[in-house]
Every structure is written in C-alpha cells, then in structure tokens.
Amino acid sequence: MNRRQIWLTLITLTLFALVPPLTSIFGQPFYVDLMARIMIFALAAISLDFILGHGGMVSFGHAAYMGIGAYTVGIFSYYGIDNGFIQFPLAIAAAALIGLIFGALSLRTSGVYFIMITLAFAQMLYFLAISLEEFGGDDGMAASRSKFAGLIDLNDSNQFYYLVLACLALMLFILHRLVQSRFGMVIRACRTNEKRMQALGFQTYRYKLTAFVIAASMCGLSGALFANLNEFVSPDAMHWTRSGEIMIMVIMGGIGTLIGPVLGATGFLLLEEYLPEWMEMFMTDAGEHWAIVMGPILIVIVLFGRGGIHALFARKWLARGNGHG
C-alpha cells in the first residue's frame, strides 16, 4: 500500500466514523444500519481481496465463510448462549477450520478448477444449511444480538456501528501489514509466478493455504457481525450469488488495493439500495427490474474502468501531482 492508498483509507474511515452523528442531525437513523451493512460486506471483500488480489487465488466460494460465521452466532443464540466473548472467537475459529479443509483440497488445483471447486464447496455448505431443519432449514432462524457484558451494548445501533467500524479498521491495518511482510511478499510473488517461487525454494502450497485460512477467518468475523445486524441467519448468506457479489465488490473497487474493495462494497450496496428508487422515478414499477440496469453498469466498470473505483481516485490525484510538478 502506497502513501496515496493510506490517505484514501484514512479519509474513508473518517467519513464512515462521521455517519452516526450526521444521520442523527438529519434525523435519518436508517442510514446507520445501511452503512453498517456496507462495512460488514467491506470486511468480507477485503478478506477476499487479500487472497484474490494479492495472492491470485480466485475463490468463488467466499460467502461460505461468512455463512459459517453467521451460523455460529445463530446456533449459539438458538441454544441461549448469547455471550459475544464466546460466539465471536468461535465464529472466527469455525470459519478458519472450514477454510483450512476447503483450502487444503482446493489449492491442489489451480485456474478454472480452483474457481469451480471453491464454488462447489460453498454450494455444499449452502445445501447443508437448507437441510438443517432444526435451524430453520430454508427459512433460516432468528438470532439475538451478542452480549459483550460490561463492554458495549450491541442493541444500540450506534454502538454496533462503531464495533463494525473498529473491526474494519483493525482488519485493514492487519492486512496492510501482512501484505508488506515477508509472508506477504511470498503471497504476492506466488500470484505472478508460482513456478519461479518453487524454483527459488518456497513451499508455495503452505503459504497459500495459510493466506486462505487468514482470509476465511476474517470473513467469518464479518459473518458474525452480519448475523448481529440482521438478528437473523439464513442459507441465503452462503448462496453462490452472494460469493459473486463479494467478488464484484472487489473488482468494482479495485483488485489488490485493500481500500478499493471497501469503496466497491459501498458503491455496490448503495446502487442496490437506491437504483430501484431512481428507476421508479422514471417509470412506475420499473424498480423491481433494477438488475437490468445494474448489469450493464457492472459490465461498463469491468470493461472500461480497469482498476475500479480506486483507480478513479488514483488517476485524479496523479493528475494533480503532475500539475504541481
């Protein structure tokens, strides 16, 4: 991450931090939940960006780990254990364990096969969740918000919001360090030329698997937060279209930039939220066909906006820099 990305990250996080006071001034508390949702997906997106953008591992089943995190919270809640100090670490651990198993098998393949096998594993979990009648099957189940006794009260939407923001900021910082460490150098170089890395003496499989598990566990955290936000978990959280959405956020924001996917998640979810409304303005009942407009927007971004939203900022700042010089 270069200096520009660090500034962009700090500015973005500051803007996120300003959301609760601003919405209370304008009397629009609804936005706090929307922005919390955006940050939760941003968390999932940066974890995917770590292995996809920096490690070159195109995991098409990332929603699975979000689902594992969500279901861990949901199942504990179902059995009356709503202690967050138990739920959250176990949600992360469960996602890490599943990531270890899926990763260990998937990473024996590469290219299209890797994409397909990660997708297949995620779908497996999706259908497993549907078959669990005890936990609501298809319909999902309710989950009460986690209790962090004496620390914060998640039933207060502002406190919940700042917990999500703190998680996002912490994970951005951790990934930022990770990418630049010795470990990060290995992961990034594997993306460019894994064969060369092996010839240099790196046992690349171990490093890639470790990165995969780190990403899965971070995504598990986002899932635990997601269950808290909705007070509900359902198999939909793991459906392959969800994995696709997370990947679109990464691509839309800018692969391999960390802060890019945060912007991508913001853009994607805001569009998803407001596109139907805007379309209603032009034509009655057009709103439900919002995907017809969303699709072309995504295609245009992928075709012409190489580097995503992040590149947009980068280019602008670059131009200004030249102006001074």
Binding site: S181, R182, F183, G184, M185, T192, R196, Q198, A199, Q203
Partner: protein
C-alpha cells in the same frame, strides 16, 4: 574421479510415443561448467525439467551431492542447493530489481511465516541482495522496477536471483536466449566470474558462449547422450558433426576457430 555433484543414471522419459530422454547416463563433476547442447527437439528442456524436479522421470535416478533426489519436489531440491534459471525470463516485473533478489535471499533465510515486520526494511534480506546485485553489475538499477530493465539486464537479474540462493549447482536454461552480441559477451563474462565457485550445468544454443565457457560438453540427440568430452574432443567427434549438419555445422566450426 571424485564423486560427481550431480549424477543421472538410466534416465528415461517419454510422452506417448515420443521418447524425450532415452536411457541417459551423465555425471557432472564438482566445479565444472558442463554444457549440454543438441539440435532442437533433442530433449534438453525435458532434461532440465527432470533435474529441477518439475517432471518425474519414468525410469532411472538422479542424485545430487550424494543424495537421491529423484522424488523430491522443486522446492526441496532448491533447499539442497540446486538453483536454476528459466529459458523464458522469470522475474517479478512489479517488484524492483532489489526486491526480486531479496525474495531469493528470503527463500533460504528460514521460513517466511513472518507476518508483521515489513520486508522492505529488513536489512537481513536487503543487504545480501544488494551485494549480489553489485557483484552482477546491476547495483545502479537496484530500485528500478524489474519490468523497466532491458532484456539483457532482466536475464542478468534472473541469474542474480539464482545466485542469491547460494546454490552449489546452477542449472542455466539458455541464459543467452534473445540476447544481442554485447549482452551475450557480458553474460559470458559474468558466468566466467563465478566459474569454479560453483558447478554449472549450461543448456545453450549460442555455440560461441558454449565453447568459451564449458569445461566439458555433452551432446544430446533424440534424448541420448551421443558424446561427452572436452570442447576440442567434441569438435573433432564425427557423430557430433553428423548430428549438426548444414548451418549448425558451420556455427560449430566458426566457434571452434574462434577458440582455437
């Protein structure tokens, strides 16, 4: 004769009905530059892949430094001190020249499960990497992204990465590929400067370079070693001359004259 560093015994490899390596026996002696030449399709690339560990031979065994390595992975062979360069330049274009070499140093500086300290400020990697770059003549280009280096410089960087792993055997797959006359001459000088300190197996088409550098030459035709010997023996060998008919024959002759 002293124990060879690298020994191939009865190596066989075929792809369907195509026999790429045919009962190959070859000993590489400590400290020599051993060139392997042969017409296109002689099985040089397949042989490199088997020595480096990318391909498993169908039959036969390979031993390195007195240890059988036939079944070891690429990375494990590298850990034992077998480094290689690639025919197609294999560097990390987004990284600077120094980063590239530092990565090679890192490969042999213990495990890389170090998650927190930035690798860029790590003197334990940067300093040895800088020294290798200086030695190889790329010191001034250290902070240049590798993509910006000229083709010749990239080939040098490739060698620098191999050297930075402090190997005992260097397997060079056409290091002069795509080089101009000047660049080739510089590469020959570079390899001469490391000669004797480590063993080099050199696969090369450039006969001037081969005859300037090699202590011994093996000629490969249809996966078989038809001759192994000192350069002057190879030049005089009738079977070798038969294998290099036409223009290739001429280049063999001109190389012989140049080094006479």
């Amino acid at each position: 004769m002293v124990e060879p560093v690298l020994r191939m015994e009865g190596l066989c490899k075929s792809f369907g009905s195509l026999i790429a390596t045919d009962d190959l026996h070859l000993d590489i002696a400590q400290g020599e530059i051993h060139a392997i030449i042969g017409p296109n399709g002689a099985g040089k690339t397949t042989l490199v892949a088997q020595i480096s560990g990318e391909l498993r031979p169908d039959r036969g065994r390979i031993s390195f430094a007195g240890r059988e390595i036939t079944r070891l992975s690429v990375a494990a062979r590298s850990a034992l001190g077998l480094a290689r360069s690639f025919q197609i330049t294999s560097i990390f274009p987004d990284f600077t020249a120094l980063d590239n070499v530092a990565l090679a140093v890192q490969a042999h500086a213990g495990h890389s499960f170090r998650f927190w300290r930035p690798a860029h400020g790590d003197a334990a990697l940067r300093q040895p990497a800088g020294e290798v770059l200086e030695r190889i003549g790329l010191g001034a280009r250290a902070n240049e992204p590798a993509a910006n280096l000229s083709h010749g410089e990239q080939r040098q960087l490739e060698i620098a990465m191999a050297l930075a792993t402090e190997p005992s055997l260097l397997l060079l797959d056409e290091p002069m590929a795509g080089m101009g006359r000047d660049e080739s001459a510089r590469m020959v000088a570079l390899l001469q400067s490391v000669k004797g300190r480590l063993t080099i197996v050199l696969i090369e088409h450039d006969m001037d370079a081969v005859f300037a550098l090699a202590d011994r030459i093996t000629v490969l035709v249809y996966g078989r070693a038809i001759a192994t010997g000192r350069p002057e023996e190879i030049r005089a060998n009738a079977a070798v001359r038969a294998a290099y008919l036409g223009t290739e024959n001429a280049s063999l002759d001109s190389a012989a004259d140049a080094n006479a």
